[in-house]
Structure formats: structure tokens, C-alpha cells
Amino acid sequence: MTEDFTDRLRLQLRRAALGEERRGALSRRPVAVRPRPSFAVAAFASAAAAALLLVVTLWLLGSRENEPAVPAGPRVVANVRLADALGGEADAGFGSLWLSESQEGQILRVDPSTRRVTARIPVGDEAAIATGDGSVWAVPRGAVKHGDPVLRIDPRTGRTVARIAQRTPAGEPFDGGFIIIGPRVWVLGSSGAIAIDPATNRVVREIRLGGGYLVVDALLRGRQLWLITSDRRITRFDARTGRRLGRVSWRTTGFLLPFADKLVAVSKGSVALLDPATGKAAWRTRLGTELHDARVNGSRVFVEGADGATARERVWQLDARTGRVAGVVTMPEFGPAGMVPVVSGVWLLTSGGHAVDVQP
């Protein structure tokens, strides 16, 4: 008898779970059981290592004059654990980074220079975060809470100064999953969007998309809010009034990030720079085998994804103007869940609570 898909998946997961068990048992083994080298052996090893280091250092100093300058590429400059678990949502603002801690349901305020948590703001769940209009805005979006109020947080005190019910102007419940801040604070959900007026903390507009396709992404372009639905179509709205302006003539094959007056489009195996009017690519660069996430910082694009069957994700750095790849670095941690631009590079946030600082 042949096994069906669910049986084959069950066996795969069993093997994986047993592997995890073994790895867990190994990692819990006490350090003391490791054999220690004798003092004499250790002393010899130390001396040999020091001598080798000296030789290598002298060789590097001697050869540096003849070497061309090392091309700027991404490198991991820090890997710090900030929490037990981080969600993918984050934003920079008010001199800090604001990250979603998904285990306790907190927003972490982090000093980007010291990479230390300077405040913990309880919000009860993993949250989508955006900064703007003098505030930090958060909407719970984890496994437990849906449709809870949008929180407006004072960045100076960390206090929640307003809880704004997710309801349309007509009073219907709304279930938002992320926030974009432009002339209004837009809370996006699968059925459309609601707009909060920051002056009054009231919901003043609603965008409700017709048709059976869910809203899967959105972006702000100048005074326009673009909503992308699961059929890959893009509809433009006035970012202040919510008035429908029309559809874009082309369909996207991935997700979009604004860059100057263009769009960076990231699809499964490539990154491209698109003309927003026509959807035509000025350049297209093939990368890896499966791309997961990307951010634009200045004129650089940082792309996180997989390359072949290796377990570790990689981060590529591209020149947004030309598509040229400046370099690639392998992630030191598993499970990247999100990215946020910091200084000239990005921080990658992992589900295990690490922030990996990647800079050019």
C-alpha cells in the first residue's frame, strides 16, 4: 500500500523531531564532561597559536600595500540576543529601534549604537509596528489577538496614550495586520484599510476592496497608497482621502519596495528595479534559489534568502541603481523573521530572539 502525503509528511517530521531531540540532548550535556588537555599540552598549544598569529599578522601587514582595496560588501558586525523570541515587525524612529518581542508580547525599544534594550512596553502579543506623527503605533497581530485596538505610544515615556478601536467609520469591526504612516495612519487588513487621523485618534476613512481577492501587501508612494491583492494586481488610492485612483496597468510577481521614483521588486529568484508606470525592469539580477525578504537602505538593497540546499540563509547586498551585487554573507543564526534598516545596513531579527547586524 502506498503512503499518502500526510503519512509521508508525518514520517519526515518524526525524523526531524528525533534529530531535534538528539541535538537538544547534546547541547544540554554538561561542559565538564569534555576531556581537558593537560597543562603542558595546553601551554604548547597556546604558544603555537600565538606564533602562528604573529606570522599571519606580519604577512598580512607586508602584503597589504600591494592589494587592491577590499570591495564594500555585507558583513556581520554583531550578533546579539535581545529576547527569547522576536517577531518580524520592526521600525526605526526617535533615535531607537522598536522591535516586536513575540514571547511576552512586548515592544522593545533598542539603542542601535549599544544594541541594548532600553525599554519594554507590554502590548500583550506580537505586534506590527510603525513610527510617525510623533508616536509609535502598534497593532497586535499574533496567534492570539485579532482586531484588538491600535495602540498609540509616546516614544519618550513608553506609555500608551491612546487605544483606538479597529472599527470602520460605519462601526463595523476591522482586523488589521500592519500599519503604514503617510498623511494618515493606515491600518491594513485582508479586506482593505482604515485610516486614523492622528490629530483626533479617530478612524476617519475606510477602503474596502471589492472582489474575492485579499489584500496581501501595501506601500506608500508619495501621496498614493498602493494596495496589492493576492491576484497580484495593484490598486492606487489617495493616501489622505482614501479615494480610489485606479489600477496599475501591470501585475507584480513579488513584493515591492520604494526606491527614489522607482520600485525594487523582489520575486522568488530575482530582484529588479521597475518603472512604476510601466512595470518594465531597468535591471534584473538573479539571486539564490529562494528569496524571502528585502529592505532598501539609501542606495543599497539588502536581500535575505536561501542559496541551494544549505540550511543557513544568506544576505546579499546590491547597488539599487545598477543591480550589481556587492557581496553576500551567510547568516550566523537560523530563522530570520524580519529586517529593519539600521545605519548603512540592516538588522536581521530572528525567531530565536537574535538581532544580527549586517553592514556594508
Binding site: 509528511l9 508525518r10 534529530g19 510577481t253
Partner: protein
């Protein structure tokens, strides 16, 4: 007597392979049906199911029962995987790669079975992943036809609270069925 009698929460808390396998058995058909209804694509539904369970396996030590039912936690992961797939246009495989799980190819029989799961809209499957208070409120009001007043009296809470739980539960169910939120 054994794992079959344990709650999902207990199965996740144990952290051993056999308990996770039982948790998988408890949920796999409902989750596969959920993805099949939302995507109308057997291959994508299978990929998303595998990726969701792989992610649940790697994250199960971080599950906290006090924050919600294990089923709701699993569907929370599922919703994120689905949203990511809709945003990107394909299902990611990072949790499976981490666990070195190869992609499973579907047979014709698999595709037919997933198609049947997509057509199964039974209430029990759809409310499975709801938070317990929402699930109880929806079952009492919609399935057992009890009034808000009656449910509120039984639970020792207000009618408004029960209405809110039913409303939110149904909203989630509608989303799972592929309708608008």
C-alpha cells in the same frame, strides 16, 4: 491510555518526537483543508502544511499555554505562512530546510484527497483553531442555537462580551473559508 488522551497543550509541552507526532495527527487534516480552501491549489496547500508543521516543530518550546490554545497557536503560524505566500507568490521553505526536510511530491491520489478536504466545510474543522472562548461562543450560538443572553448567563459574563466573541470567531472562520474578513 497515553498520548491520545493528552491535550494539545500537553503534547507541545512535552517536547519529544512522539508527542509532536500525535499533535500533528490531531491537526494535519484540518490544516491541510484550511490551506486547500484558501489557496485552491493542492501543491501550494501541501507545501504550506509541511512548512507550518516544520515551523511549529522548531518553535514548540516557545509555545505558552497561558497565551492561547495550541490549535490557535498553530493557526497563527499558518496564517503568517499563508500571508507570506500570498505576498511573495510562493510558499517559503526555510523551516523545512533548517530541518533538512525535502519537498514532498504529490501523487494524483494526494491531489484528489486534498481537493476533497477543500470541500469539507464542517463547523468542527473551521472552529478548531479559534481561541477557546471564541470557539465555545461560536459553537453555543451558531451550532447549538443558544441565545446571547443564555450563553452569557452560563458563562457568568455580559451579553456584549459574548457578542464580541461570536463576532470575532465568525470573522476568523470567514477568513479561513477564503471570504473577506
Amino acid at each position: 491510555v497515553g498520548l491520545q488522551d493528552d491535550s494539545d497543550e500537553q503534547l507541545l509541552a512535552r517536547g519529544d518526537a512522539a508527542s509532536f507526532e500525535r499533535f500533528y495527527i490531531n491537526h494535519v487534516d484540518a490544516l491541510l483543508g484550511f490551506f486547500a480552501r484558501r489557496t485552491r491549489d493542492a501543491e501550494l496547500a501541501a507545501d504550506l502544511t509541511a512548512e507550518t508543521f516544520a515551523a511549529a516543530l522548531t518553535a514548540r518550546r516557545r509555545y505558552r499555554p497561558e497565551k492561547g490554545a495550541a490549535g490557535a497557536w498553530l493557526y497563527g503560524i499558518a496564517h503568517k505562512k499563508l500571508a507570506d505566500a500570498q505576498r511573495r507568490g510562493y510558499a517559503e521553505d526555510r523551516a523545512r530546510r533548517r530541518l533538512r526536510m525535502e519537498r514532498l511530491e504529490l501523487t494524483d491520489d494526494d491531489v484528489a484527497r486534498i481537493g476533497r478536504l477543500a470541500d469539507d466545510h464542517s463547523a468542527s474543522i473551521l472552529v478548531d483553531g479559534l481561541a477557546p472562548e471564541q470557539r465555545d461562543a461560536v459553537m453555543a450560538h451558531v451550532v447549538h442555537d443558544r441565545s446571547y443572553d443564555e450563553i452569557a448567563g452560563a458563562l457568568g459574563t455580559s451579553q456584549a462580551v459574548v457578542r464580541k466573541r461570536v463576532s470575532r470567531g465568525l470573522q476568523t472562520v470567514r477568513q479561513r473559508m477564503g471570504g473577506r474578513g
